[in-house]
Symmetry: C2
Subunit: 242 residues, 2 copies
DNA sequence: CGGTGGCTTGAAGCTATTCAAGACCTGTGG
DNA sequence: CCACAGGTCTTGAATAGCTTCAAGCCACCG
């Protein structure tokens, strides 16, 4: 340990000190020097549910870390049909590197807080420190795995299996500390019925019917339309097709 | 130009000299030195249609470049339902970095020739030369874009739109030199009807019916069940839902 | 030739959608 | 406090689209 390092270990920007992204997100790949540099040009925001973060075919000049809340990634056809192609939770990195414009649309599904930086700063750091690119690569590989898992759900599962799979996915992502062996859990749905329909390739009515079915079969309980209580994750899993 | 460089420029391994992957694939990121090192442990194979290249939940100890043919990436549910989650064409890189076992199944859809290397060799080179990791990252980002495009098709398009989208996608990938403004093209389908069904989340009968419909509507012609002639790519595109 | 695998076609059935109405929840203004 | 308006969500009935089940066709190969 040199003096120099000591100085810089103490020099972690205030902005970053309690930030989850520094531990588990992409910022974990940066040393204190770089963190200071990045923090200078970055800023925290909070946005309401429904706010568009990245517009389709819009030039993107900044990236961001999701600090809390849920962001939905959407694609739509010319006639208005929509499909949600991904959800991002803290501390995911938001933005498509190496492309001037994004083919997808990102929108806050819940209230969301973000830490955003100029595109150029990230791209410069990516060249300087391979560790950053490596982290982004890994996140991208995970997103690809998720997307492919979801293709199976979209292409081959029935409506009720889709709903069960969706609830399991949300349960696991809302609370990452959830013990995989846990039997029960509860959470607030981050999506409206319409969003769930767009995620599962169904209509809102079908989503509603399948949720009532799961409810009357005693697999889940629902309070205030949004809060879901799962008493037996096993039973839910058995209905997910897996 | 130093003498050293001259020597090595001339030293491109025979194996690689006419290889497309060296120009457009991941090997393009390697310098002649590295190419020589890699070529020592790599080998070309050719396999028949139907051969399994990577088994589900099987330890993977090698990666490969696809040199010709088409590889299908599949996932399946416990009850046997299958979904194709991606297709790989030359000069795609085959293999999932940073994971001991793959959650997907790769199978030759047509006769395929491959150039494969031990996993360890690639991972070592990835550490040495960031350019290699960068290329793999870019390919992964493209695969993610493709997967998300396909999620829209699976979730929101009708059977006939799915077929039109599929034919367009194949036309563009089989012949990468195809002028985007071209009006007509023709190709051999690399997949059987059953594969197409697994790719589109349909049954084989529905695939067959939709193909006959496209045929009787004069959008495509089909010879010998496999060869497809598209006279108006525009008409096909209009039926794809875009 | 008969057999096999891949493909097509038809008829019936079922699942999810569409269309329509009503319930519920929340916030606003009287 | 209640009434009411505007979402969001649920429920019902009818319909459409895809699947299922069942034959039959076609090309290829022994």
């Amino acid at each position: 340990m040199t003096v120099r390092q000591d100085v810089h270990s103490a020099g972690i920007p205030v902005l970053c000190q309690s930030c989850e992204a520094r531990h588990h997100g992409v910022c974990g790949a940066l040393d204190p020097d770089q963190l200071v540099g990045l923090a200078k040009t970055s800023s925290k925001h909070t946005v309401e549910a429904g706010v568009e973060l990245i517009g389709d075919a819009e030039a993107v000049d900044s990236y961001a870390n999701v600090l809390s809340g849920v962001v939905k990634l959407m694609k739509s056809l010319s006639d208005g049909r929509q499909q949600i192609v991904g959800l991002q939770f803290a501390p995911d990195f938001l933005g498509r590197p190496f492309k001037v414009e994004s083919a997808i649309n990102a929108e806050a599904a819940t209230a969301v807080s973000l830490c955003s930086f100029p595109k150029a700063a990230i791209e410069r750091m990516m060249k300087e420190s391979p560790g950053l690119e490596h982290r982004l690569f890994k996140q991208t590989l995970n997103e690809l795995d998720d997307a492919r898992d979801w293709m199976v759900t979209l292409g081959r599962k029935s409506a009720s299996e889709k709903l069960a799979s969706f609830l399991l996915m949300i349960a696991r992502n809302i609370d990452p500390t959830l013990d995989p062996a846990a039997q029960s859990t509860s959470f607030d749905l981050p999506l409206t019925r319409a969003d769930i329909a767009d995620f599962l390739g169904l209509t809102i009515e079908t989503v509603s019917r399948q949720l009532t079915r799961l409810r009357s079969d005693g697999v889940i309980r629902i309070e205030n339309n949004r809060h879901v209580i799962v008493d037996s994750l096993n039973r839910l899993q058995r209905r997910s097709g897996a």
